[in-house]
Amino acid sequence: MDIVDKIIENINYLGAIALFVIGLRIVVLHSNLIKRIMGLNIMGTGVFLFFVSIGNVTGGVPPIIYPDSSGAVYINPIPSVLILTGIVVVVSITVYSLSLVIRIYENYETIDQKELSRLISEEANDH
């Protein structure tokens, strides 16, 4: 079973892509605003998983160097660093969009995109 071996070997990449696509689907197709933000988070973690899998080394150890640990194989540290930055960025975006959701709910009494567009077009016709 060659294909199964191949899938298991690349499971992290495949998972990362799957999460990216699922997140994209939630952001694009879902009409609930909070769900869309969650989709964005899922997309983000998908990309991060992709990054971290690049740096992974089978049998490696985390890149913390002790004087007596010579000979160990370390994983690639760069992707981890990039991800640490990325996680915090996604949180900031999430919070800002959540604050917008609160305001939208306050003004329109709904957090559903379809209903929202209906209300907005009605308002535009009134004027």
Binding site: F20, G44, F50, I78, V89, I93, L100, R103, Y108, I120
Partner: protein, 495 residues
Amino acid sequence: MIIEQLPIINLLLFLLMALFIPLLKRKPFKITLILGFVVLGLVFISSVYLLWYVNNVGIIIYTFGGFEARFGIEFVVDPFSALFTTIIAILAAIIYIYSSGDATDGIEKTEYGRYYILLFLLLMSMFGILYTNDIFNTYVFIEILSITTCAIISIKKKKDTYTSAFRYLMMNELGSLSYLIGVALIYMATGYTNITLIGESMSNAFQAYQLNIVIALGFMIIGLGIKAAVFPFHIWLPDAHSSAPSTSSAILSAIVIKVYILVFVKVLFRVFNLEILNEMSISTILLILAGVGMIMGSVFAIAQKDVKRMLGYSSVAQMGYILLGIGLLSFEGLRAAFFHILSHGLMKTALFLSVGEIIFYKKTRKVNDFDGLGFIMPVAMGVFSIAALGMIGLPLTSGFISKLNLGMAVLDKNQTIFLVILIISSLLNVIYYLPIIISAFLKNEKYHYRLESIEKTPRTMIAPLILLGLLIIVVGIFPNQIMVFIESAVRSVMP
């Protein structure tokens, strides 16, 4: 050497200004304004000096922490980044003076402090994007830019700004994450994040992993295309730009989307190279997107009744012009595109600021209400007319020069069909701009407005408008002096 430190000092000046605004909260607001103006002036002087320096002495490479460039993060100031940071500094200073005229429409007084914090962070991120030579660092700067652009829309506490800001944020994030996965694929194939090093190893990587590089380029193009409002991804733009406060609209439409297209240029020509682009026939795709955008943007603009929405759709069409120049992948094309970035920046700023003044005093955004305005607000309407004529492409304005260059670049590549599209698009521009000018200057006003309102207009609002009008004409009459800098910028991007 102090000159080497100037790029980082520019960024730190913006950052420290933003950090100190909350501390000045209890002081009168005028102090903040003057301090901000001093900061902008210093940055402007240093960017002009850098522009002179890189064109006459040599490019500046600055590495953080004293490490080699490949281990740390690198700033590169070359004719390209120096030119566009100078343009941004000029436009930002003009918009800043205008906004200090106490007429940032729709923003509450208590929010002024936050508005200027966001403005300076926005400027900082744009300067950083242009200076940096690291694709991941670019991503982080892009995220600062995304949050600040959305925030200067939603700062106007209106119902519709929240929804349009939310939509803009979602689109922006899709763009950023697409860009980030492009970065991941490139990192996977080459192992670098420094743009110069990637560019050197890209040909080998392309030989080995062709499909992946194509996908990476696709993700990056789509991601930056969403942010730059390239035609099929423009849907967020009209809402966002029309509901924002006038000064924010000017910044968004005149500067921010241009910055994304400049990142686009950097990615196309520095991360990837001309051989790969030709092999993938990316030119055709870009040209088709540009052509459709040029026509459809103008057609949508004709249908609008709201002035600011109309200007927003007009931006979509103008991004098509810029993309056309880039898509030709030739020296002339890129030159025309860069010149159009400058001239469209000037014209769109003038249009949005003059419309902002009209909205501020007349409280109307309907195109039909502009009758007779030329007599009541001669300065605003005059500048509006100059800029609109520039958009149409009349001689003696900067718009004419950019269209001329674009037409010649198109002919140079034997793409005659795009010349036809260019002319059609200009004619469509005539359809939506000219009636406004005619009705403003030739029709009698429907209602009577008191003439005193003109006198109340603060000088800080009038002066930037006049300056912009003059700049449009000066650039249109003496384009050669600026062309020198633009040509060296093109040469630094496209070897």
